[in-house]
């Protein structure tokens, strides 16, 4: 079963929830945690394990061969992303703009453009007990997150049986990296904070999940600060509040050291058990 942990706003505690949840679950069953926040993956800072596999991830980019090229400029004409240009005596490709649609390559009358792999990120796979942890990172300068997110999900699907509990730590926001990370999930857990920023961004995230027709529930992190408007919003919209992780300076300090929270803070463990309960309920009814 695929569970995505998402949020509208960054910094609400997605990674805190996913890493602690994954570790707690792994005490009794097989779990795969995948960090899909490929621009700034952080889960690896909190989870340790033995690296069992690493692979470079590639996107396909057209490579120009001048021998047969007649400089007709068709390649530039068929590219919607301005990623390829016909100059006086050569064809120039701009790799970061290319979306690998293959149009220029396949429509070239002289077959002078071949699609070749270019490294855009790295996937690393770690294991610690029952927990498998996959971490994918974009290399600096690469601008498109979606292809790496998509390839990482495929890696997980290929290497683990669908009956495994799969947690996906998603990127923040509601634009297309988030869509890519959540569109095939069975269940979405939205993490928010009880503040005006948290509420505003939660409504965007809920709108997105409704559009994708995904069942979703809310975890309120840093509960105790701010106000009750997030709770009111959830009640008015029939959105289950799965857990309320308390706010405390102690938690902020422990978090800053890179340690997991639930082992030292029973109040956090109690709330995470509620999240596990919510997941199990869905697994049974599925």
């Amino acid at each position: 079963m695929k569970i995505a942990i998402a949020s509208g706003k960054g910094g609400t505690g997605k990674t805190t929830v996913s890493t602690n949840l994954a570790s707690l679950l792994a005490e009794s069953e097989d779990v795969v945690l995948t960090d899909l926040d490929v621009e700034e993956p952080n889960s690896g800072l909190f989870i340790s394990g033995n690296k069992i596999h690493a692979e470079d991830k590639f996107k396909m980019i057209p490579e120009w061969k001048k021998d047969e090229c007649i400089l007709c400029g068709n390649c530039q004409k068929v590219c919607n992303f301005n990623a390829i240009m016909k100059l006086d005596k050569m064809i120039m490709v701009f790799p970061e703009l290319c979306h690998a649609c293959y149009a220029c390559s396949e429509l070239c009358p002289t077959k002078s453009l071949t699609m070749k792999p270019k490294k855009m990120g790295e996937l690393k796979h770690y294991r610690s007990g029952n927990l498998d942890f996959i971490d994918s990172k974009l290399i600096i300068g690469e601008e498109q997150a979606v292809p790496l997110i998509s390839q990482t999900i495929k890696y997980v699907e290929k290497n683990f049986p669908s009956s495994t509990t799969m947690l996906f730590d998603s990127p923040p926001g509601t634009s297309c990296p988030v869509i890519e990370a959540t569109k095939d999930a069975d269940l979405i857990i939205l993490v928010t904070e009880p503040t005006p920023f948290g509420l505003h961004d939660l409504t965007l995230a809920v709108e997105t999940m409704k559009k994708l027709k995904k069942p979703h529930g809310v975890v309120i992190n840093k509960f105790g600060i701010g106000d009750a408007k997030v709770e009111e919003y959830c009640a008015e919209n029939d959105i289950p509040i799965i857990a309320k992780i308390p706010n405390s300076r102690k938690i902020a300090e422990l978090y800053s050291t890179g340690k997991l929270l639930y082992k030292e803070l029973p109040e956090v463990a109690v709330e995470l058990e509620k999240v596990i309960g919510y997941i199990k309920k869905h697994q049974e009814s599925a």
């Binding site: 992303f81 301005n82 990623a83 240009m85 100059l87 120039m92 703009l97």
Partner: protein
């Protein structure tokens, strides 16, 4: 020399546009013929991605020897400009076109 200025208007006293890729206008001055040509670049400036290289490509159609601008072309655009062999002078971002020309002639630009 044929010189292209990135500008916000089409007159000698128009302000320079400090950007290259999304410059609003080309102001092209041919020192030999003393003629001025202008081009409205705003359609390219409106592109989501790749405005820089497109502007560079458009510039190459005018066969200019010198480009005078504010910040200089970004990575991709610069690659195209290098191919065309145009000499680039930067630092004129806050001037008018006329002031930029004078600064160029007196060697003040980089």
């Amino acid at each position: 020399m044929k010189i292209l200025f990135t500008a916000k208007g089409t007159e000698w006293d128009s302000k320079m546009d400090p950007r290259f890729g999304r410059t609003e206008f080309f102001f092209i001055y041919d020192e030999e013929t003393e003629k001025v040509e202008t081009y409205d670049n705003r359609a390219i400036a409106n592109e989501a991605h790749g405005a820089g290289p497109l502007t560079a490509q458009k510039m190459s159609e005018y066969k200019v020897d010198v480009l005078i601008t504010g910040n200089g072309p970004g990575g991709n655009a610069a690659a195209v400009v290098t191919q065309t062999g145009t000499k680039v002078f930067v630092g004129a971002g806050e001037m008018t076109v006329k002031e930029a020309y004078e600064a160029y002639k007196s060697g003040e630009l980089k």
